[in-house]
């Protein structure tokens, strides 16, 4: 499909054109922060209007694009008791036409992990709240040139410049221009809208090179081939490693809520008097109540078991059920962890154990 060159300085124009074409434009944006040493930069994906600031291409956003496909909280329906009657009100499933700009390769790759769960292709049930959003969304991805110390996408079969799941992919070249690759029909539509800003065929070689250079910068381990077999060997479920590495976990949900592929949710009725909403909101396998039974029994009674579950979920259960990894190596769970619990330490440990047992 088509490739072309785009001036980085034209990104603002891209936003203008897309907005004019009635796209809801989502782009990473730095959040306002208080003065003083205690505050740090936080970038999140936000709806942007022409003229708004954005930081496309500047590092990896603190939170991913998950909220635009699977919001942190949303209503399933509203209800109201009237005498003996219950009146239900559905939520609207008609979502705006959306383009998400400057998505990093890891984030855009994560969409298929969510899709695996919410669409009917495996689960046999189609969560329209997700799929209808997905239908309306176009992803314009943007290669990493400066992966940071926590990135490990190369360990999970991705790369700083991979375009898995992308509709239109951009790569920043050393000369400051952007190499644009159209990947899908939806991508074509975007290209058409910003056609006036595109020129030539771009520079495929330089793009390749940029990818290699970026990949070089990733310091965390790269081989995760041995993970699956080791995890599938149930004898290793009781390995002392789980406890040793996991006992410092304090049981917050930071890793799961920042994770682009974590998808667990809870449902409650938010009641006020005679009416209320049935609400779906993010839940975390790291919370001690996550597996608490009504009987009082808790199948994962201690924190290391909960993290073991998370690790298995990403690298075993996903593979078993969907035939792909549930991790895209964005490294957010590492950055966000208050106690520096590091998923790649688990991976390293496993790899090492696997090799020793093999030999």
């Amino acid at each position: 499909m088509r490739t072309a060159t785009l001036q980085k300085s034209d990104l603002d124009r891209v936003i203008d054109l897309l907005s004019q074409a009635d796209y809801r434009v989502i782009a990473p944006q730095n959040q306002p922060r208080l003065e003083g040493p205690d505050s740090i930069d936080v970038a999140t994906f936000q709806e942007v209007q022409p003229g708004d600031s954005h930081n496309i291409g500047e590092g990896l956003s603190t939170t991913g694009i998950k909220p635009f496909l699977f919001p942190k909280d949303e209503p399933l329906f509203a209800y109201e008791n009237r005498g003996k009657k219950v009146v239900l009100t559905e939520v609207s499933l008609d979502f705006p036409k959306t383009v998400i700009l400057g998505v990093r390769p890891c984030d855009v790759a994560s969409v298929s992990s969510l899709d695996a769960v919410f669409s009917d292709k495996n689960a046999g049930f189609n969560d329209e709240l997700f799929t209808k959003r997905l239908e309306k969304t176009t992803f314009v991805s943007y290669s990493c040139t400066e992966p940071d110390v926590s990135c490990f996408c190369t360990s999970v079969g991705l790369a700083p410049d991979s375009d898995k799941g992308s509709d239109l992919h951009m790569t920043e070249l050393p000369d400051g221009t952007l190499h644009v690759e159209v990947k899908t029909e939806a991508g074509e539509k975007i290209a058409a809208v910003i056609d006036s800003l595109l020129s030539g065929e771009g520079d495929a070689v330089a793009r390749q090179q940029a990818g290699v250079v970026a990949a070089e910068k990733i310091t965390r381990l790269r081989d995760s081939a041995s993970l699956l077999p080791w995890l599938q060997d149930l004898n290793n479920f009781g390995d002392e490693m789980w406890q040793r590495l996991g006992e410092k976990c304090l049981g917050c949900g930071a890793c799961t809520f920042e994770c682009p592929t974590c998808h667990c949710f809870d449902i409650v009725d938010e009641n006020s008097g005679n009416k209320g909403y049935r609400v779906k909101f993010w839940d975390s396998c790291q919370f001690d109540h996550f597996t608490l039974h009504a009987s009082g029994h808790n199948t994962r009674n201690s924190q290391f078991e909960r993290y073991r579950n998370r690790f298995n979920c990403k690298f075993k259960i996903y593979e078993d059920v969907f035939g792909e990894k549930g991790c895209v190596g964005c490294g957010r769970c590492i950055r966000g962890c208050p106690v520096n619990l590091d998923i790649t330490e688990y991976m390293a440990e496993v790899a090492q154990k696997a090799t020793t047992s093999a030999s």
Binding site: N81, R82, G83, K84, N271, S272, G273, N274, G296
Partner: protein, 683 residues
């Protein structure tokens, strides 16, 4: 799904005047869980309650709302009715649409809207009311009576004669109180002591009555049925079990001070009984004035005492006793003369800042201080007129003992005067002033009595007749106030006004008697706090309901008798004392005490023993408890509530962060339901 009944009461037209009860009922019927509504004229009436019970039975209701008057009025009524109909009483709630709606809003639209809202809130609440069972507990069937005046005496006799052991605590050395000071009593003019002292003797001889004279209540713990009283028996310096009351000691005692009992008109000895008929007839040594205690001189009393029962080393004794009920009969005192122009100089008790402690308040000048000679108050006149008084019943004026030829009586001194005195009418002054004029005329035949009055209030059996008789016997009533009293030679110039004649009146009087207002005891408010009962702005103790519960204090198991609750004359006081006694009998008539189940309970799974609840509980009702596993090892400690001590204040519930302790009847879930039902609809 809940099956709730809503009963909207019209209360005649009390509610329906400003609330469209039919609409409220209709609206309620549309609420979820409501299966039955009724709009009725008088829910509290017998047919109303029948309808209530019938509905519960017919529709098998599991919750009821009565939208009617304040829960204080009829919550109990309907809860009992529900119980009779087989519904747990605590599944009944009252929506207060009378006191807090129909009576205070004149706009029907608004009243109706608010009533709907209040009803909604209760409908939601009742869904989470748990069926609760009352607790049964034992009680101590002994009564404590505070104050040995006529009220205390009457209550004690009634109770004792009904077979209840009683303890009377009196701060003075003898029973009798103010009534013992009176000469004769209106309207019959029978001698006060002649009717009082026999009762005092009866008390003394009654096997079921313990008298603790010269003693005070220090502390009252516990709750209805199970009070624990800490009583300080002040040191009499006399061993009363040995004392025969022979009187040698006080006859021989060489030292004297002013007699409180005789309103300081005469001296008494330093070892003394307040008056000859005192009960018990055991003297006490006034240590503040006794040289033995001041500079270790004298000691004659000990020498002359036959049974050798004087004990200078005796110390205050702290007694801890248990009681099931308390009757407060602490009586009154006369307001000091607050009128500078009447030679008054002291400050009325109720104007003294609350902050003052007992001592400071006691230090305030009393009515005797700094005033014109021969200007006296009612009680002082009573002593002058009393056969056992300082003048042996002859009316002589204090300054020089002359028989006063002209006496001016001034009514309403301090009463009915919000600025200088108290707002209320002291009620008995009209009567005792009339009585005084008669006593005076009977004693000084050529004397002239003048009475300055505002109105005559003689509502009572034979009272009006009594006033007329006083006038017939020569008392001259002048309608008007006195503007000033001046000293003129050995007389007092009374400058008054006759508002009927419309002229000024000057009278040169030999003596002036002020009918000063009745006020609560100086330390009434502190004492109320000791007891934990409520009081009004004057310091009179508040009854639980002004009409229907006039002898119950705000606290269960504590009852009120006599002037401590409000101004009263003797017959009223006696009546209330008997009423209080019968209340106690009622309480004691049951085998065991039923306790309301609205107490705290602990969620032992989640309690994380921070002991915040233990720390804040005002009743020490919460204590740590061990949770053991099957093998008896202590797994953890949790809080545990003693339902007998818990009074249901809910402090623990509020301080518990994990909400692992909750107050039954006011659980978080119930309040939450009320809040979330809140719509605040204005119209």
């Amino acid at each position: 799904m809940a099956k709730i009944g809503v009963f909207v009461c019209q209360c005649g037209n009390n509610i329906s005047r400003t609330v469209d009860t039919a609409d409220v009922a209709k609206d309620a019927s549309e609420q979820s869980g409501v299966v039955f509504v009724e709009d009725y004229k008088f829910m509290c009436s017998a047919p109303g309650q029948e309808a209530f019970k019938k509905a519960i039975r017919d529709h098998d209701l599991d919750g009821c709302i009565v939208s009617a008057c304040s829960p204080k009025m009829h919550e109990a009524t309907f809860r009992n009715a529900a119980e009779a109909a087989g519904l747990n009483p605590f599944k009944v709630e009252i929506a207060n649409i009378r006191e807090q709606c129909s009576w205070v809003h004149n706009d029907k639209e608004i009243g109706t809207a608010k009533s709907k809202d209040l009803t909604h809130m209760m409908i939601q609440r009742v869904k989470y009311n748990r069926p609760l069972e009352r607790y049964r507990m034992s009680m101590t069937k002994r009564a404590l009576i505070l104050g040995g005046g006529i009220a205390g005496i009457q209550a004690a006799l009634d109770l004792a004669n009904a077979g209840t052991p009683v303890t009377i605590v009196e701060k003075e050395p003898s029973l009798g109180g103010n009534m013992a000071r009176l000469s004769e009593t209106f309207p019959t003019l029978d001698c006060s002591q002649c009717i009082l002292t026999p009762k005092m003797v009866e008390v003394q001889n009654h096997p079921l009555i313990t008298i603790r004279a010269f003693a005070e209540l220090e502390k009252l713990d516990g709750y209805i049925g199970n009070f624990k009283a800490t009583i300080r028996q002040k040191a009499k310096s006399v061993i009363d079990k040995d004392c025969t009351g022979c009187g040698d000691c006080w006859e021989k005692c060489p030292f004297t001070v002013e007699s409180e009992f005789d309103m300081n008109l005469i001296k008494r000895k330093v070892i003394y009984i307040p008056f000859p008929q005192a009960v018990p007839t055991v003297p006490v040594i006034d240590r503040a004035n006794c040289p033995k205690f001041i500079k270790d001189k004298c000691g004659i009393c000990a020498d002359v005492c036959g049974p050798d029962c004087i004990d200078f080393t005796q110390e205050d004794e702290i007694l801890e006793e248990e009681f099931g009920a308390v009757i407060v009969a602490t009586g009154f005192e006369l307001m000091p003369n607050v009128y500078k122009e009447y030679g008054g100089s002291s400050m009325p008790q109720h104007l003294i800042p609350k902050k003052m402690n007992k001592k400071q308040r006691a230090a305030q000048p009393r009515s005797t201080s700094g005033r014109l000679p021969d200007v006296i108050n009612g009680l002082e006149f009573e002593r002058l007129a009393s056969a056992s008084g300082p003048t042996g019943g002859e009316i002589r004026r204090p300054s020089d003992g002359k028989k006063p030829k002209t006496v001016v009586f001034i009514a309403c001194v301090g009463s009915r005067d919000a600025n200088k005195g108290v707002e209320y009418c002291s009620k008995i002054c009209c009567m005792y002033t009339a009585k005084h004029t008669m006593l005076y005329n009977h004693s000084v035949h050529d004397g002239k009595a003048y009475v300055f009055y505002m109105d005559i209030r003689a509502g009572g059996k034979g009272y009006e007749e009594f006033i007329n008789r006083a006038q017939d016997e020569g008392a001259e009533y002048i309608r008007g106030r006195v503007s000033a009293l001046r000293k003129k030679g050995d007389k007092i110039l009374v400058k008054g006004a006759d508002t009927l004649q419309g002229c000024a009146v000057d009278i040169e009087a030999d003596m002036v008697v002020l009918a000063t207002a009745m006020v609560p005891q100086a330390d009434a408010i502190d004492f109320a706090k000791t007891l934990g009962i409520s009081y009004d702005k004057h310091g009179f103790y508040s009854e639980q309901h002004p009409k229907l519960m006039p002898v119950d204090s705000s606290t269960g198991g504590i009852y009120l008798a006599g002037a401590c609750q409000g101004v009263k004359d003797v017959p009223e006081t006696v009546a209330q004392a008997s009423a209080a006694a019968s209340k106690v009998m009622q309480l004691f008539s049951k085998e065991e005490l039923m306790r309301e189940p609205e107490v705290a309970i602990v969620d032992k799974d989640h309690c994380m023993n921070c002991w915040d609840c233990v720390t804040v509980c005002p009743y020490l009702a919460i204590s740590p408890e061990e949770v053991k596993d099957r093998d008896g090892n202590v797994v953890k400690m949790v809080a545990n509530v003693n339902p007998g001590l818990c009074q249901g204040c809910g402090l623990c519930n509020t301080v518990c962060r994990s909400k692992s302790i909750e107050l039954q009847g006011y659980t978080d879930q119930q309040v939450y339901a009320q809040i979330t039902a809140f719509e605040g609809a204005f119209v």
